[in-house]
């Protein structure tokens, strides 16, 4: 499904700000896997996502998706099959366009069968409404309102819906609930879990919540210094507690876990 081979990325090479963000990272994902990622500040979690989605090209290594080499495929082409959610709920939706227009755009741009001048039909609008109702936020009755009027949590839920309206081959969730209040975060997380289960979407999720990392999905990765230092799945993962995982991290990385948000949560 996703094959990341030995990728490296150095920012600002040759300057005082040189930063090796990814160093020889390899990762293989099978179809339908739901993987959570935890790690220290600056471990390279977001950089890994940027590399996979094509925000930049890697210095070394190869990335393949569905058996196709996408190492040098530009970002906008990859995003036809890779959905992505950011921590900032304002990044995924267009504020001056209505809910319906945002959904139409998400739907039309991911559907290969749709021509450049295609509109959404009545049935498709009804389908949007149906999906919105599943969010249980009353958005199905506000289709004609600009998205800028929604709360952060509502916008993030809408972004999730937009990203999965046509199920992507790969979904990247970059701490997508971190900027929301606890109740809304819980709600968006439930929606995430159910939508991934429903469509069997292959998913990578960065989180700073250790217990969440262990309870959600079926595999957990820990990252430090641009590498994956721990890869848990199956029995080993099932029997793992948050404390023992933090300890394993300390042993493997040779340093304490210093993600302030992990420590505070």
């Amino acid at each position: 499904m996703l094959d990341v081979q030995n990728i490296s990325k150095t920012f600002n090479p040759g300057t005082v700000n040189e930063k090796k963000a990814l160093s020889g990272l390899s990762l293989h994902l099978d179809k339908g896997e739901f993987v959570t990622i935890v790690g220290s500040n600056g471990a390279g979690k977001s950089t890994l996502f940027n590399a996979i989605s094509g925000s930049f090209f890697v210095d070394e290594g190869h990335i393949a998706l569905n058996g196709k080499d996408i190492t040098y495929v530009p970002e906008h082409k990859r995003s036809r099959v890779i959905g992505r959610l950011f921590q900032d709920p304002l990044r995924g939706t267009a504020p001056h366009m209505t809910i319906e227009e945002n959904l139409s755009l998400a739907y039309l741009r991911t559907n290969r069968s749709k021509a450049a001048f295609s509109h959404v039909s009545k049935q498709e609008k009804a389908f949007f409404q149906e999906r919105l109702a599943l969010l249980d936020m009353g958005l199905e009755n506000r289709m004609q309102q600009p998205v800028g009027l929604l709360s952060g949590g509502q916008r993030q839920a809408l972004t999730l819906l937009m990203a999965t309206l046509t199920p992507p081959d790969l979904l990247l969730l970059d701490e997508h609930t971190a900027a929301l209040d606890p109740a809304t975060a819980e709600k968006v997380l439930q929606l995430t879990d159910s939508v991934i289960a429903e469509h069997k979407i292959t998913c990578l999720m960065v989180t700073h919540n250790m217990s969440q990392a262990l309870s959600l999905g079926n595999r957990t990765l820990m990252m430090a210094d641009g590498r994956i230092i721990l890869d848990l799945s199956g029995q080993e993962r099932a029997g793992m507690s948050v404390e023992s995982m933090v300890e394993r991290f300390r042993v493997q990385a040779g340093q304490a876990l210093d993600n302030d948000r992990i420590l505070l949560s």
Binding site: S53, S79, R80, T93, A94, T98, A106, L108, A116
Partner: protein, 302 residues
Amino acid sequence: MRFILQTTLELGMMYALVSMALFLSFRVLDIADLTTDGAFVLGMAVSVTVTASGHPFLGLFAAMLAGAAAGCVTAILQTKLGVPSILAGIVTNTGLYTVNLMAMGWTSNANILKQRTIFTLFKALGIGGRWYSLILASCITVLAGVLLVWFLGTRIGLSLRATGDNPDMVRASSINPTHTITIGLCIANALTALSGAVVGQSQRSADINAGTGIVVVGLACLIIGETICRRGSIRRGVIATVVGSIVYRFIYALVLKTKIVPIECLKLVTAFIVGLAIAMPTIRSWISFQRRKAHSAAGRDL
């Protein structure tokens, strides 16, 4: 009086296409496209030249094509070659001066006094009596407006709107901003050129300086329209451009007739109004901040 009303409506309808173009580039794409002045004259020049050779309808399409090409140059300069968007428009606009002279046969003024134009052809149909030119101009503008609204609801149109609304979102979704900006500027300048083409055939001449300041006038119309109709949906926005354009021409006629403001000063007044209108949100927040400051100072004295 009837004559004034008629000309005002006619000019309002013809120039509404320019504010429609600016609605697309300035409001939807969030790009100040200064190609507008040159593209207007380009449309006029191409239309008049093609009409002179006996093809008035072809003149309109050729003008739109030429305008789209000009928009494409500006778009490539800013998306592919990294020229700042305002500068890209100015560069194209400067180059267009020569292109426009060339299109007019290296003269600064071209006439089509005896040739058939779309207006004479339409008059011959006998529809609308003395109002024929208003009817024809309205048909063209309304058709352009309807097509624009339709276009902005399509996949490309929605992508284009998202490009102007949330660049962050566009970068992470499968929209290529280079394409959407290029398409947007091509359509905007095709509309501007169409306006020039219609005006040129209507006044039966093309002048190299006819486009000077047209971008500011177009923005004034856009802002007047938005003030009257309020900002909202795309359909409302497009209607507002037409309303604004007509109101602007009424004000223009009023000034011309009553001479409240000397007519030589009209461009200055227009520039002042546009500057003020665009600065309004900033001025408003500054005033409310000063008020709050004064209020809190007064409170402390007690």
